[in-house]
């Protein structure tokens, strides 16, 4: 029963202290141990199944086979096989992030600012919610059915137009094949993230610019784009990280014919193909660094971008 009165006291006291705020309260003051009991499972879970396993790998990257400290694993990341896998991963992630952002932005602009019927907008947004979650193995199957050697588009181009994509050099199991496939979840993600930002472009700005004699091109060049730009850059880095960590689609699509980093790591976990557990951890460290940096860029840019779009 005492906890009940505690709550009442603290609740009635809270608005007063929040309103006056004479001195900034200490970080943990006002938190009673009973409250920690509610948050504790969450924090324990996060420690045991998110933070410590990741740190375990980070530390493992600096441990030699005999258990001593070493930088050799990091140096070994410089072997041609690993460098080329990072390079192809970075290229695919960057290409799908840029293409996904550009087309996502264009589609979002079309449905929001292009005066299309309102029904189209809500349909596109709902579909984006579905498609951004339609990744992994089934997505690979869908693109094999479309652009594979016996895929619908391949066959139609060949029989109706006499154009053999595969003879022309296209292959679904390649850089462009995978990039095109990744766009299927990158574009919808872009639409979902950028739509609120485009909504934030106020109609008044448009009218003010028009009153001053600006053409639509000038509006976008000097007002629209500079405001959307931080959002755009931030989202590109988010999409980059999104593609960089993905493996299921690539694995189902290409097997191990395209050695992107997650697929090399997958093979390493399965059967220690690099013959060095420390090197596996170093590979993981490389992935963590790249996805962490791109995500931090996204978060920093996003908080700055939000200033304009209140």
């Amino acid at each position: 029963m005492s906890s009940n009165t505690d709550t009442l006291v603290s609740n009635s006291a809270a608005p007063a202290s929040a309103g006056a705020a004479p001195s900034r309260p200490h970080f943990l003051s006002g938190v009673r141990w009973g409250d920690y009991l509610g948050v504790a499972p969450f924090l324990v879970f996060a420690a045991l199944f998110l933070i410590v396993p990741t740190l375990y790998l980070v530390v493992g990257a600096f441990v030699a086979k005999d258990g001593s400290f070493t930088l050799q694993n990091i140096v070994d990341l410089g072997t041609p096989q690993i460098v080329s896998s990072f390079w192809i991963s970075i290229r695919i992630s960057a290409a799908s992030a840029v293409l996904g952002s550009v087309f996502g932005l264009l589609i979002a602009l079309a449905i929001i600012r292009g005066k299309l019927p309102p029904a189209i907008r809500s349909t596109v947004m709902t579909f984006s919610g579905v498609a951004s979650n339609f990744a992994g193995i089934p997505l690979a199957f869908a693109f094999l059915s479309t652009l594979g050697r016996l895929g619908l588009v391949t066959v139609i181009l060949k029989t109706v137009f006499g154009f053999d994509m595969y003879r022309a050099g296209f292959n679904i199991l390649s850089f462009w094949g995978l990039t095109l496939t990744y766009c299927y979840f990158q574009i919808p993600l872009m639409i979902l993230i950028i739509a609120p930002a485009i909504d934030g472009l106020k109609k008044e700005w448009n009218e003010a610019a028009a009153t001053l004699g600006a053409s639509p091109w000038q509006f976008w060049r000097y007002i629209g784009m500079p405001i959307l730009w931080p959002n755009l850059l931030g989202t590109i880095s988010l999409l980059f990280a999104n593609a960089f960590g993905a493996i299921a689609t690539a694995y189902a699509l290409t097997g191990s014919s395209l050695n992107i980093v997650p697929i090399v790591l997958y093979a390493q976990i399965r059967g220690d193909v690099l013959n060095n557990p420390g090197l596996g951890a170093a590979l993981a460290l490389g992935m963590i660094v790249i996805t962490a940096v791109t995500n931090v860029i996204y978060l920093v840019i996003r908080t700055r971008a939000e200033r304009w779009l209140k």
Binding site: D35, V39, F49, I288
Partner: protein, 263 residues
């Protein structure tokens, strides 16, 4: 501005083509298992395969377990952060971002190193232990979505008044959580649950590396060995994802709202 309308139709048309052609192609491919005629054989082959039923059932159970464990962790945390410990909010929100930053393959790699047979908590030693590990991995994956859904739900109700009212009536914290807060955010919770299910049901990387007979692993297996069945599986998965997202949209209409206190 008439031109604007034309270009937006062109962009929309191109986008619609990019997104709809693969779906049409997949449906068409899944129906063409027999030469010169459309048939549903690929679907019957898939649906009748014991491996399909077993792995789908397995993933469904793991998904439901994920939702339950996730809610037990997330709901109290979100409630206490909102009501009494807003100082902890930055920490909690940072933690909920981690699964988006750490790729699943890194997470499972860490688990395999940390919970192997020679560790103090050898979860990968037994089938039950590995199932628990898989469930907890999925809880980690679903954490951002689950937390956001629950927190959004809490924002639409007046947590403080409800808690005070229940307190005055003599309810303890557990009763408040179970019988006052939870029923009020059930719609938000359910939409988080459906999103979790959509993510978990076809997950491949973690299940495969933990050697569990999950639906994603089965799909990959079929893809490596069959021609037309994978297309049927893709259509089935798309319908499942669509169904889960549709449920979320539908649920949003039934969300209860109590006006937040303004004093």
């Amino acid at each position: 501005m008439k031109h604007a309308k034309l270009w937006s139709w062109i962009i929309f048309g191109l986008g619609a083509a990019y997104f709809l052609v693969p779906l049409l192609a997949t449906v068409q491919f899944s129906l063409s298992i027999r030469r010169d005629t459309l048939s549903l054989d690929a679907y019957t082959n898939v649906l009748q395969a014991p491996a399909f039923q077993n792995t789908f059932g397995y993933s469904l159970i793991v998904g439901i377990a994920t939702i339950i464990v996730g809610l037990l962790i997330v709901v109290p945390a979100a409630y206490f952060v909102r009501l009494r410990a807003p100082q902890l909010r930055p920490i909690i929100e940072f933690v909920t971002l981690l699964p988006l930053i750490i790729p699943p393959i890194i997470l499972v790699f860490g688990y395999i190193r940390m919970y192997n047979s020679s560790s103090p908590l050898p979860l990968t030693n037994s089938v039950v232990g590995t199932n628990i590990l898989l469930t907890l991995a999925y809880v980690a994956l679903a954490l951002p979505y689950m937390y956001r859904a629950v927190d959004t739900g809490l924002r639409t109700i007046d947590v403080q008044t409800l808690t005070e009212a229940a307190n005055i009536l003599g309810a303890n914290t557990l009763t408040i959580l179970m019988r006052v807060i939870f029923p009020n955010i059930i719609v938000a919770v359910l939409s988080g649950a459906f999103l979790t299910l959509a993510i978990v049901i076809g997950e491949f990387t973690i299940a495969s590396l933990l050697n569990r007979p999950a639906f994603g692993v089965y799909m990959q297996n079929v893809g490596a060995n069959r021609a037309y069945e994978p297309a049927a599986l893709a259509v089935i998965s798309f319908v499942i994802t669509w169904g889960a997202m549709g449920m979320i949209q539908l649920l949003a209409r039934f969300a209860p709202r109590t006006a937040a206190r303004t004093d």
